[in-house]
Symmetry: C2
Subunit: 682 residues, 2 copies
């Protein structure tokens, strides 16, 4: 089957560049503060074929170039006859401002990943492709979103304007047609934001006919678009000729201010990726069900070209945020492609000059994510392809270690860890934990592709020993943030990592639980981002019942506060009007942030209890934990198959449509046979 | 004064990418077979200012982004008030498919090279700019060519078509308007090529109205465009609404084939850079005058965004070709900017993975060109800026030396030297000469910017010794091509370099002249490319009279053969119909090739005898040599000034409008005082 092919990884780099050009707020654009690479623009593709019978092929491309057959050049887009026998085909494509890609259509000669591609550098690599681009008519330079018209659930006159409420947070293109005059549209994740024109993040000022005839553009886009005249908000006049399209942005509310006598037409089209939910969860607690649904919706809105942080702000790809999304994805979409896309986009091209997103920890999460991805998929090929970029990033990290061999800030490196007060003087403990985990990932990935892992293993062992020696405080019974400052400050972060990564021995674990996790004197985690790890650590220690309570308290009260998607940050006790500000902006907080979706991961991983024990779920474990719930039931993807876990008040039922599973229940192991239900007393 | 600014070097990289997408032949496009880099697309600019009085500024950009003043972001294109006192201005621009650049207009706050720019890599560098882009309305993403309508000098009906002869080679856009039907245009550097549709390199097939309304485009372009209805070839109907524009290509002849009853309008617009000729030359030999004029015209046609090889084919930027153009340029335009543009475009970005243009010698010429450029301009700043890229290219070259320490082919490196039969087994002597010269250039450039040159000096001395030891054959009295083959083959190339670079001692020089230069048994140089060096070596040895003869013979007979511009290759004795083919194509030879312009260099450098003895012509030498001519007179640029040399039958007159010169005549030195004529008996 023919498909569009390109230089491997360049589809992601190209769309990352386009995506990152789209953040806007307060009427200005806001480019990221890190290097964005572009695809190679001059590439060549080749393939040796041997034909049993003559065959006609046509080579199409985005870009200019030629087709060389057995050393003779021909034009693109022309039928070319290949005679019986062996032929060498080479396609040269130069696309100065886009993604060079080709589509070869013949009876047996077709463009696919078996073609080799080269950017006139040293290596020929197998071409990249994507299941979204199998048809010649679909252009890989346009990301293949789907569209669906959405309508507001409410409309109110407010202060001379009209406030439309779409019922919940969404991400949608607007199509606007006005007869004359000008008009303003203010977007709001909340009613307050939409009505506060001066402070609303997103707005549009519409002049009549200033847009291009973009209705046609919209209709050309993949996915369903409703016909003119159907389901529109306001149809002042039926004949839509030429209007303006406003690229998709986040909102629940739209506040439209125009001259009183003005007539306009406004339509909204939800822009999304049609990802299939393969995971599910239902339980006896309706609030938790609503939390799961809201988390799934939040996560879907942020799963686009890549895993985004938030759909209003930043709409960027952040490695630390993405790392959690990879994990949530396992229990919801189980979509491998979006993981690969995100990993490739984040890393960009050589040479490495700064940390990923400029953040030291985010380089480490990127390295860790490759092994996690391998664990999920068993995709050795991807590891092989990305491995050289892992090595160069790790080389970069190791080249910056301080005299003690720790990763400390160099230049303007951003040492983030979390939005939390922390002692960041000199080497920071949480960063060393992540570096150690990255070294483990390097060693494991080296093994996966048959490379020696000795150096990474050795570095890991040395670092672990040093972390203990420099950061463990017997007096505090905890890992301290920094030894350089002499303050011996304890925060939850490094200690949570120690539990999660297994970097604390039994005695240390006990102390950490007592002195840190269960110690209210230690600063609470305030972001869903780090709550992810905190609750995971609690689950790992078997405290699911407490985690249930925390989920109810934290996510539940967000819902009670009116959230239709989960937020970037949340402090339960604050009044509503103190919730929305962040980064010094009145509505600066993102109210639809991917890292708010962690309950999906926690419930799948530690309640339904499913995890792979061999790469790609060739073997997997199910170790359910009721977590204090009367009952729950749900599905967890395990590679191509699924496992169904039904925790009833009296009985536990587990069933999978693939083999390889084992149920762990009350200290016993029960092999899960394909399509056979295991029933055990609870 | 405000000007457009961008990431230093990216204007060149961007336009190089666009330029290299334009080669077409036989109806298909032909991208170069080397890596083409793109500009950075996400950059930021900054400047600290201190204002005596408040001032309003406006920041415009190509791309999206914002203006941050004292940490607060504002939209682009809006008037912003700066109060009295100090301010930090930071402009963020992301242009996903173009060149990010900004234009800041205020009373005192203006965008210029004092702004710093950063691509979110490690370094902040001073911004790049170009004198072509001082007006906000002129877009740096469009190269600023000028246009002038040209008309054919002859028109003939041939075989049902019409052959237009423009009198001489040119490079022009066509504007075509047809009423109905289709038509073909075949381009020809010769009549034969235009009339041989199957074999002509360049052609266009015109469908009615298939083009965009590009008349307007043309009129928006910088430079003069004649009004519709004036000076057109065929005006079938006066009302030009919508036609097709064919981007500029090389031709002297156009052969138009259309239906007999068809009416059409065809206009041609010469596309050029308005470079000023600062050098001139006239002498007693009319043929040499015509050669100088034709060389100047040839050279001008190839002096565009960058120095091209040829305007029909390849229309690419080649480092070896460019190296000669830098030298010719000194005696014609003395345009520093086109040198810098070409040097920056050729080198592209890090990391180095292949030789420049994939050719080993072309990496060496690139390195050598920087010192040559410095010698011409005294532009220390440029050396400072390009130096890191010199180092990384030299590192690349040195990393590939063989066990003997010689530069030999690695992988698919192209060892070119010249289109000539040569023994290229193992290390090739000419390449080592160029490597040695590059090490010299590295050492000198290091000194220019105050870096240590010891390593390069040492490597140079070692290499020179080894070249002598391995390649000098006492038996042959010459440098041999290769010692690895055991063939002891002698060609002119390495021996010419030995003379030019001073790598032969007096005894060796004598032998080389006798055994190689004056030895007809050694294969003759057939390309104007290497004739450049051969004739230069002869001049250096004082054989100007012979060179005069060679110029008359070689270039003169090209003119007699009908050349209106000088060719890529020429063999005097061949009949006309054997002259045009090359690379296996019937009209494959380029008939307008920059490397054919060397007489300008030879006459300026070795007849008028002008050369800098201090960088930037702070001091210069004039050592005229009549070369057998009765008289000559001419002007040679020397930095900002010019020197005028008039060799009369009885008297020599020299005058300069700047100081610093010294006349060398019959073994004596005469200081040239500003604006004072020196007259000496010949």
């Amino acid at each position: 089957m023919s498909k569009w092919i390109w230089y491997y990884g360049d589809f992601e780099v190209y769309h990352s560049l386009k995506l990152h050009a789209r953040r806007d707020e307060f009427g200005h654009n806001f480019p990221p503060f890190w290097r964005l690479d572009d695809c190679w623009h001059n590439v060549r593709f080749r393939k040796e074929v041997e034909l049993q019978t003559p065959e006609e092929i046509t080579v199409s491309a985005h870009g200019v170039g030629n087709v060389e057959i057995d050393g003779r050049r021909h034009a693109l887009d022309e039928p070319l006859l290949l005679t019986q026998g062996k032929h060498g085909i080479m396609v040269h494509v130069l696309n100065p401002d886009g993604l060079p890609c080709i589509y070869v259509k013949g009876k047996t000669v077709v463009s696919d990943e078996t073609w080799l591609v080269n950017s006139y550098g040293r290596e020929w690599v197998n071409a990249g492709s994507n299941a979204l681009y199998l048809e010649k008519s679909v252009n890989p330079q346009e990301f293949g979103f789907s569209y669906e018209e959405i309508v507001p659930v409410q409309k109110n006159n407010v202060d001379g304007g009209i406030l439309y409420d779409f019922g919940r947070e969404t991400f949608a293109k607007l199509y606007v047609e006005i007869q004359d005059g000008e008009m303003d549209i203010f977007y709001g994740e909340t009613k307050e934001e939409a009505l506060d024109g001066r402070n609303s993040y997103l707005r549009a000022h519409i002049f009549p006919q200033s847009g291009i005839c973009s209705r046609q553009e919209l209709e050309k886009a993949p996915g369903r678009v409703s016909q003119p005249g159907q389901g529109n908000l306001e149809t002042a006049y039926g004949d839509l000729k030429c209007g303006q399209e406003i690229p998709a942005r986040a909102f629940r509310y739209l506040y439209v201010v125009s001259a009183p006598e003005q007539t306009y037409c406004l339509r909204a089209y939800h822009e999304y990726l049609p990802l299939k939910r393969r995971g599910s969860f239902r339980c006896s607690d309706e609030q938790i069900n609503k939390i799961w649904d809201t988390a799934a919706y939040t996560f879907h809105l942020n799963s686009r070209e890549f895993f985004l942080d938030g759909i209003k702000r930043d709409r960027w790809v952040w490695s630390g945020d993405a790392y959690q999304s990879y994990l949530v994805n396992r229990y919801l979409f189980f979509d491998a492609d979006i993981c690969k896309r995100t990993i490739l986009a984040l890393r960009g091209k050589e040479p490495v000059e700064k940390h990923i997103n400029t953040i030291m920890d985010y380089s480490f999460y990127w390295l860790m994510s490759i092994y996690d991805y391998y664990e999920m998929t068993g995709d050795t090929e991807f590891v092989r392809r990305i491995y050289p970029k892992m090595v160069s990033l790790m080389d970069f990290c190791l080249s910056r270690l301080d005299a003690d061999g720790f990763a400390a800030q160099v230049g303007d490196d951003w040492v983030f860890v979390d939005w939390a007060e922390m002692d960041k003087e000199g080497a920071v403990c949480a960063e060393q934990m992540l570096l150690a985990r990255s070294l483990e990932a390097m060693a494991k990935c080296s093994q996966v592709i048959g490379q020696s892992c000795d150096d990474y293993d050795k570095a890991f062992v040395q670092l672990r020993e040093k972390i203990n020696r420099f950061f463990w405080s017997e007096e505090k019974g905890a890992f301290i943030d920094s030894f350089a400052s002499g303050k011996e400050n304890v925060t939850r972060h490094a200690n949570i990592f120690a539990l999660l990564f297994g970097y604390a021995d039994a005695a240390q674990q006990e102390k950490i639980i007592k002195n840190v996790l269960q110690n209210d004197a230690v600063l609470q985690i305030r972001t869903p981002y780090f709550k992810f790890y905190e609750l995971e650590a609690m689950c790992l220690m078997g405290n699911q019942e407490k985690v249930t309570q925390r989920i109810q308290d934290y996510w539940g009260s967000m819902l009670e506060a009116g959230a239709t998607t989960f937020w970037e940050e949340y402090t339960p006790m604050l009044p509503w009007d103190g919730q929305l500000a962040m980064y010094g902006d009145k509505y600066g907080k993102s109210l639809c942030h991917a890292w708010g979706a962690s309950p999906i991961y926690l419930l799948g991983r530690y309640y339904m209890g499913v995890r792979p024990t061999q790469p790609g779920y060739k073997a997997f474990e199910v170790m359910p934990n009721a977590g204090g719930l009367d009952w729950f039931q749900g599905t967890v993807p395990v590679g191509e198959g699924s496992v169904f876990v039904h925790m009833q008040p009296e009985v536990l039922e587990v069933c999978a449509d693939v083999g390889g599973g084992v149920l762990l229940w009350k200290g016993e192991r029960f092999p899960i046979k394909k399509n056979e239900v295991i029933r055990l007393p609870r």
